[in-house]
């Protein structure tokens, strides 16, 4: 089969690989019809995530058609059209039993601090991802769901991470009616978080980014006020001024390790890999939220320590909520919202690439060229 493969920092290509096989009785093999590149794939692409091995296939956002099932699979059949949450999880360990699917203890021998994910290095279990013609899906009875007939593949693929994560971010921000919510980052997850904050009754939503085309999308798609941090000497002061000196009730950090607002952080984090990522956005969140407020962290960071302003968080009495989203937990509610016409996930898609053009897709996404917000990869058609 043809699959995207990692060849070292900033280098990927398409290679011929063996079609995945059933390695466990509850595995399925899925033929991928849509995959996406996620902002957090860029951490792998830039060589920031430990134990990213040459030959690894990225891609934790994908949907497809079931091609093969293992002997103990009961809930899926060959030919089913399925969406697969980005989390690999067993359903019954201590953590899964409590709904913490992203923290499953039975799928990632390489670490206990993080669960399993498709195509996200050996630090998350060593599973090849879905930017390929076929992918192995463990625990096929637990993770995947059949895609409702009325839902388009382009919308379904965004359910597998970006939309579910954005919605989850607004939930764990504990938004209540009338809250002022600041969202840092206007990528797909930030846009979905902003939109979700309205569903939860926010009174005001402000999105911060440095790219004008993304801010335009935040105004149009997420109905948000926007701030370009490059237009302000100090974005935290600007946000404080915009919120009557109080600070926002909730700040959602949807940036993660690739933040680039400060030269020292750029060197130590992005280039020398001595931090788990640049915590610029995280520190802005801590500074811009009001005392007693909540910071919700969706941005992905590496496992190394980061220079986070923890003292300010403590002194301000903040609540810091964070996790990888247990994507499937959000699906029933999100499907209701999509069906009700409250949002259409594929509105954030800007680019489509055949799998053979994966190097170009990564370059465009990584360098934020051509107005790119969300690129889809098409390994095969329905």
């Amino acid at each position: 089969m043809r699959a995207m493969t990692y060849r070292g920092p900033y280098k990927v290509r398409v290679e011929e690989k063996d079609v995945p096989t059933i390695e466990h009785p509850n595995d399925a093999v899925v033929r991928v019809v849509r995959a996406a590149i996620c902002g957090s794939d860029l951490h792998l692409y830039h060589g920031m995530m430990p134990d990213t091995r040459i030959g690894h296939t990225f891609g934790h956002e994908f949907v497809g058609v079931v091609e093969k099932v293992g002997s103990s699979v009961r809930n899926l059949q060959v030919g089913d059209r399925v969406m697969v949450p980005f989390n690999v999880y067993c359903g019954t360990c201590f953590f899964c039993a409590r709904g913490l699917y992203s923290n499953c203890h039975n799928v990632n021998p390489n670490a206990t601090a993080i669960g399993g994910m498709y195509g996200y290095s050996h630090s998350t279990g060593g599973y090849d991802g879905g930017q390929a013609e076929y992918v192995r899906v463990p625990f096929a009875d637990v993770g995947p769901s059949k895609i409702p007939a009325w839902l388009d593949d382009d919308d379904a693929v965004l359910m597998t991470d970006a939309l579910a994560t954005g919605y989850f971010g607004a939930q764990i921000a504990d938004v209540v009616e009338g809250d002022t919510v600041v969202v840092l980052g206007a990528g797909p997850v930030g846009l979905f978080a902003a939109r979700s904050a309205w569903l939860m009754g926010a009174g005001r939503v402000i999105v911060v980014d440095q790219l004008e085309y993304r801010l335009a999308k935040a105004r149009e798609f997420a109905y948000a006020e926007t701030r370009n941090y490059n237009e302000h000497d100090d974005i935290v002061v600007e946000l404080k001024k915009a919120t009557d000196g109080l600070g926002a009730d909730r700040v959602i950090e949807a940036v993660g390790a690739e933040a680039d607002g400060n030269l020292t952080q750029h060197i130590t984090a992005a280039k020398l890999k001595l931090q788990g990522g640049s915590p610029v956005a995280l520190n802005w969140a801590i500074d811009a939220v009001r005392k007693g407020g909540t910071v919700s962290v969706l941005g992905a960071y590496g496992p190394l320590f980061s220079a986070v302003k923890f003292g300010d968080a403590m002194n301000k009495g903040l609540t810091l909520n964070m996790n990888q989203a247990p994507a499937k937990r959000q699906w029933p509610r999100l499907l209701e919202h999509i069906q009700a016409g409250y949002l259409r996930p594929s509105d954030v898609v800007t680019h489509r690439f055949p799998l053979e053009h994966i190097a170009e897709a990564y370059h465009v996404m990584s360098s934020k060229l051509d107005g790119c917000i969300k690129p889809l990869i098409i390994p095969s058609e329905d």
């Binding site: 060849r7 021998p109 009875d141 941090y229 030269l263 990564y362 060229l369 051509d370």
Partner: protein, 186 residues
């Protein structure tokens, strides 16, 4: 303003927001939110096992020393090999996830793996091609100048060659100095 108790008024009323924003307030009631309560034991999930059947271990699978056993299911995407594999195995066997050494060794192994793969590729019919594999050929079709206007990261990118090449140059000079010093002694 924060010097008095009242919360500042919102620019729009709930009715105005409801009229302007599709679905505004649909999840006002926190009980409607899937993540409430955060830890729930009543969620159906399709699992029909207490402890999943164990996937066969076809090679000595590396694992964190914080795990008591190899997890029932695991990825087999790229088994460790060569020098990078030795570094990875040492990191997994010696250091817990709490130690920076664990992660820094894994990142070092990644670099060794990348350099080794690049060298090996030169002996194949399809050597690594830094032009096609970085996707840089797409630049001209993708509005390279307009896309980068006014961005913070672009200012930093000008320094990147120095930051990336600098340690190599300093390292090379240090090795040269060490060799010279050794020669003088001999």
């Amino acid at each position: 303003m924060p010097y008095t108790a009242a919360k500042p008024p919102l620019p729009e009323t709930p009715d105005e927001l409801r009229a302007r924003i599709p679905g505004w307030g649909a999840d006002l009631d926190t009980a409607n939110r899937p993540q409430v309560p955060r830890e729930r034991s009543d969620l159906p999930n399709g699992a029909h096992w207490e402890l999943p059947e164990r996937q066969p271990e076809t090679y000595p699978r590396e694992r964190s020393i914080e795990h008591e056993m190899l997890t029932p299911v695991f990825g087999t995407a790229q088994p460790p090999h060569g020098l990078s594999g030795a570094i990875r195995r040492y990191s997994y066997e010696r250091f817990s996830e709490a130690r920076a050494a664990h992660w820094l060794l894994l990142i070092a192994a990644d670099r060794v793996d990348a350099a080794g793969a690049h060298l090996r590729s030169l002996a194949t019919l399809r050597p690594d091609n830094p032009i096609t594999e970085t996707g840089v050929l797409s630049e001209l079709r993708r509005h390279p100048v307009a896309s980068r206007r006014g961005r913070t990261d672009v200012r930093h990118q000008l320094l990147d060659p120095l930051i990336v090449a600098g340690p190599w140059i300093v390292g090379g000079v240090a090795v040269l100095a060490a060799v010279r010093a050794l020669r003088r002694r001999v």
